[in-house]
């Protein structure tokens, strides 16, 4: 079973995405902040894909992506970030930081799962 790591400071979003993923047969790991996520990655948590929000208090999504990419174990892990249509410049910034792709909010379950299917090995 593939494990997907979710990072978002909103509990609602964490819950709704993890519900969709659970129904589709994925295991999930969750973190409510960049710092919490980093601690788990440094501890060597199993993850086949990281999905993170960009706007978070403390360590934001871009910083998180940069840090995760520095860890050898997660160098080639696909990383998706959650964004809104208008944030074109954020998209490029996140791509440069090492993200693989993005999910435009609000996304339907199908869009979410399709995008995951596209990047998951």
């Amino acid at each position: 079973m593939k494990t997907i790591f979710l990072v978002d400071d909103s509990a609602t979003i964490l819950l709704s995405i993890s519900n969709i993923l659970a129904k589709a047969g994925y295991a999930t790991e969750k973190a409510a902040s960049g710092e919490e996520a980093m601690r788990k990655f440094q501890a060597g948590v199993k993850a086949d894909l990281l999905i993170t929000d960009l706007n978070m208090p403390g360590m934001n999504g871009i910083e998180l992506i940069k840090q995760v990419r520095k860890l050898p174990a997660y160098k080639f892990m696909p990383i998706l970030f959650l964004t809104t249509e208008s944030q074109q410049s954020r998209k490029l910034e996140a791509k440069a930081a090492g993200a693989s792709g993005w999910i435009v909010k609000p996304a339907t379950a199908d869009e979410l799962l399709n995008t995951i299917k596209l990047v998951l090995r």
Binding site: K75, A99, V119
Partner: protein
């Protein structure tokens, strides 16, 4: 109401008419794709425009309609009588919504909204997934048949050429996952790995990606869908997507069917799906880049060429788009020759021309009195020009009656369905022109006559067959010009007017005496009497108590007349006769005593001298024909002695000849009709007034009522002694 909204309402109503016309054709020819596209376009335009003016209740309603039409256009659902009916009802609803908007009300009333919701519910049944899968599978099955028949299965695939960028892997992306995802769109028929970029082993960076792929993919997805797969690596990979051959033909077809907007080449290609937006952006960028270093005066390389060079689109598709562009430009040029003018500006012009005509007549008169040859000549040239201007100005107000007629296609269809009869409408003379104000007012009377013909005239199919007539009934609408008037006929091949029944009814209603003998025509004419209706049952179509007398009054209000002819068993013909224009006429000026009268010149046939020996009778012998005449002097009770020589003006109206006896003939005269004010409305025999060159007022004779009034009076004179006789015997 602001200008934008009024423009929208006008445009919207035009599009609505186009939609209705298209939908009516739809049932006859369900396979006519041009027609279906036309309907879709009309709906789409209304939706788009309503969005622009931010009229959301129209926009959201039309959105639902458009969805259904889109599926129809794509062959996902089939045309059916029920669907066409539903869409027509949607048209009606849209008309109501337009009225709401036109009235300046922010939201439609609750019952209108409810009706709209009900329609949307019905529409949803045609867009729901249940029918989608059913429809989709049908199309797919058809496509398979086509493919196996045409033997194009193998070559008919997309060609995707992709070279991944070196940073792909480090971004957490795997070429394999893209390829796998691609396979989920359709079937990958062939794939070749292109390792050309791979450096020697020593220089190779194991974390970089050097691979490219050539892929043949068979899928029903669009180009944009395929491109979306590569969204995440689009920035650092080279991607070419070439459509299959069958798609090419489809693009070319789509381009030809694009709405006639002024579109740029790139826009057209994106719109039809041959090009994706990002391919276009890239093309435009390189067009600019090539241009900048070179001298700015040189024209940039055409976008089409660049796109073909980039191998993002085929030459055939570009050519089709270019020729479509030229076509649209041409069409726009034609449209530019038409100008929309506000109706009241035209009315103002006609008024001024009227004043000009009067002033011209006065100048003419003065010139003639002065006796100066040169002055007379120059004023006569002037008056000829005025005459030309008058004709052109009147021509501006003339519109074809066709639009009014075509509305009846819908009426006949709906009413026939409601009545359970099969009825065809045949239209002729739709190009006949008449004054705009007449066209506007003729719709209601015509509607009444057509409904009447369908309801009372045309028999049910079985009855018709039993009588040896074709099962389908026929209603004709004809229009043509006839000696200065326009004639509109409503003809049906139904049962004809039942004389016995009409007579019985008239006696019941006390319109005629039981012992009175009437000719067939007189009996038929009884239908025009107020409050007359023979329909045994009041249906919701005609016979609503609004009788034929209202029709007649409306038409008479337009200075027209209507007649009916009927042969029992084989049909009825209503003939409406209307003046060509309401504003200016050529008149014939006559004098009685000191007053002047004008007779419309179109009706004058000849003038003869009244011989002394017929002076005491009311008719004369015109080359072997009996010609009844009216003495204006008596009719208008003009004081004074009859002159020694009187003249008869012979007039013809609706095939009937009559004479009008006057003192003097004063000749032709251009006349501007000034309506009489309402105090004079009850006057019979006078249709209006005009101002002569001398500044005097002349009355315009209403020949029709004059002649009729005379005939009626004669009848009375003849009947009275007969009745007196019968009473004296009893």
């Amino acid at each position: 109401m602001d200008e934008l909204t009024s423009v929208f309402i006008q445009e919207g109503r035009e599009q609505l008419q186009a939609m209705e016309a298209g939908l009516l054709e739809l049932e006859q020819r369900p396979d006519d794709h041009d027609n279906i596209n036309g309907i879709f376009r009309a709906a789409h335009t209304i939706k788009g425009a309503s969005g622009v003016i931010e009229c959301h209740f129209i926009e959201s309603f039309m959105h639902k309609v458009e969805n259904v039409l889109d599926r129809l256009r794509n062959g996902e659902i089939q045309v059916s009588g029920e669907l066409a009916g539903l869409l027509l009802r949607c048209c009606d609803h849209l008309g109501i919504l337009m009225d709401v908007l036109a009235a300046g009300i922010a939201e439609p009333a609750a019952e209108v909204s409810l009706a709209g919701d009900a329609l949307q519910g019905e529409l949803a049944a045609h867009t729901s997934d249940a029918t989608a899968t059913a429809g989709g599978s049908v199309v797919e099955a058809e496509a398979d048949v086509e493919a196996s028949g045409g033997g194009v299965v193998n070559t008919d695939s997309w060609h995707i050429s992709v070279r991944f960028g070196p940073h792909m892997l480090r971004g957490g992306m795997d070429p394999l996952s893209f390829l796998r995802f691609l396979a989920s769109l359709g079937e990958v028929l062939a794939m070749e790995t292109i390792p050309d970029a791979m450096p020697a082993a020593a220089e190779m960076d194991p974390e970089s990606c050097y691979l490219g792929f050539e892929i043949r993919l068979q899928t029903r997805s669009s180009k944009a869908d395929i491109e979306r797969v590569f969204d995440f690596c689009r920035d650092d990979c080279e991607l070419r997507i070439l459509p299959p051959n069958s798609k090419l033909a489809e693009y070319v077809k789509l381009i030809r069917e694009l709405p006639e907007d002024d579109m740029r080449l790139g826009e057209m290609l994106v719109r039809c799906g041959a090009l994706t937006q990002s391919e276009l952006d890239e093309g435009l960028l390189s067009q600019q880049q090539v241009r900048l270093p070179a001298d700015a005066v040189a024209p940039p390389q055409p976008l089409g060429e660049i796109l073909v060079e980039h191998k993002v689109v085929q030459k055939e598709v570009v050519d089709a788009a270019v020729s479509r562009q030229a076509q649209v430009h041409e069409k726009k040029a034609v449209e530019a020759r038409l100008i929309r003018v506000q109706a009241d500006k035209l009315d103002q012009l006609i008024d001024l021309v009227g004043e000009l005509v009067i002033a011209g007549a006065s100048a003419n008169l003065l010139a003639q009195r002065s006796g100066q040859g040169e002055l007379v000549e120059s004023t006569s040239i002037l008056s000829r020009l005025v005459e030309n201007i008058r004709d052109s100005a009147l021509q501006l107000r003339m519109v074809q009656i066709g639009e009014t007629f075509t509305r009846f296609n819908r009426v006949v269809r709906d009413v026939a369905k409601e009545l359970g009869k099969e009825i065809d409408l045949v239209i002729s003379g739709a190009e006949t022109e008449l004054d705009k104000s007449v066209v506007e007012k003729i719709g209601d009377p015509l509607m009444h006559l057509v409904r009447n013909s369908m309801d009372h005239g045309i028999e049910p199919g079985d009855v018709r067959e039993a009588r040896g007539k074709p099962r389908r009934g026929r209603v004709e609408l004809n229009a043509y010009h006839d000696s200065g008037s326009i004639v509109i006929e409503v003809v049906d091949d139904g049962a004809g007017l039942p004389r016995e029944k009409i007579l019985r009814k008239a006696i019941d209603k006390g319109l005629v005496q039981p012992n009175q003998t009437l000719s067939d025509q007189e009996i038929i004419n009884l239908i025009w009497e107020p409050g007359f209706s023979t329909a045994e049952q009041v249906t919701n179509l005609s016979g609503r108590g609004v009788g034929m007398d209202v029709v007649r009054r409306n038409i008479q209000g337009l200075r027209g007349s209507c007649e009916v002819a009927s042969v029992e068993g084989s049909g009825t013909t209503f003939t409406i006769r209307l003046p060509l224009t309401l504003a200016i006429i050529d008149g014939f000026l006559v004098g009685v005593g000191r007053a002047a009268y004008v007779i419309p010149l179109d009706m004058v046939i000849e003038c003869i001298e009244l011989k002394g020996n017929s002076a005491e009778r009311d008719f004369l012998n015109l080359r072997g024909e009996v010609l009844p005449f009216v003495r204006l002097r008596e009719m208008f009770e003009v004081d004074g002695e009859r002159p020694a020589r009187e003249n008869v003006v012979v007039v013809q109206y609706a095939g009937q000849k009559a004479g009008i006896v006057v003192d003097q003939l004063l000749g032709e005269f251009q006349t501007v009709i000034k309506p009489l004010s309402s105090i004079f409305r009850h006057l019979r025999g006078i249709g209006g007034s005009t101002i002569l060159g001398s500044g005097e007022v002349a009355l315009i004779l209403d020949v029709q009522t004059l002649v009729q009034r005379n005939a009626r009076r004669e009848e009375r004179d003849m009947n009275t002694p007969a009745m007196l006789r019968s009473t004296s015997q009893n």
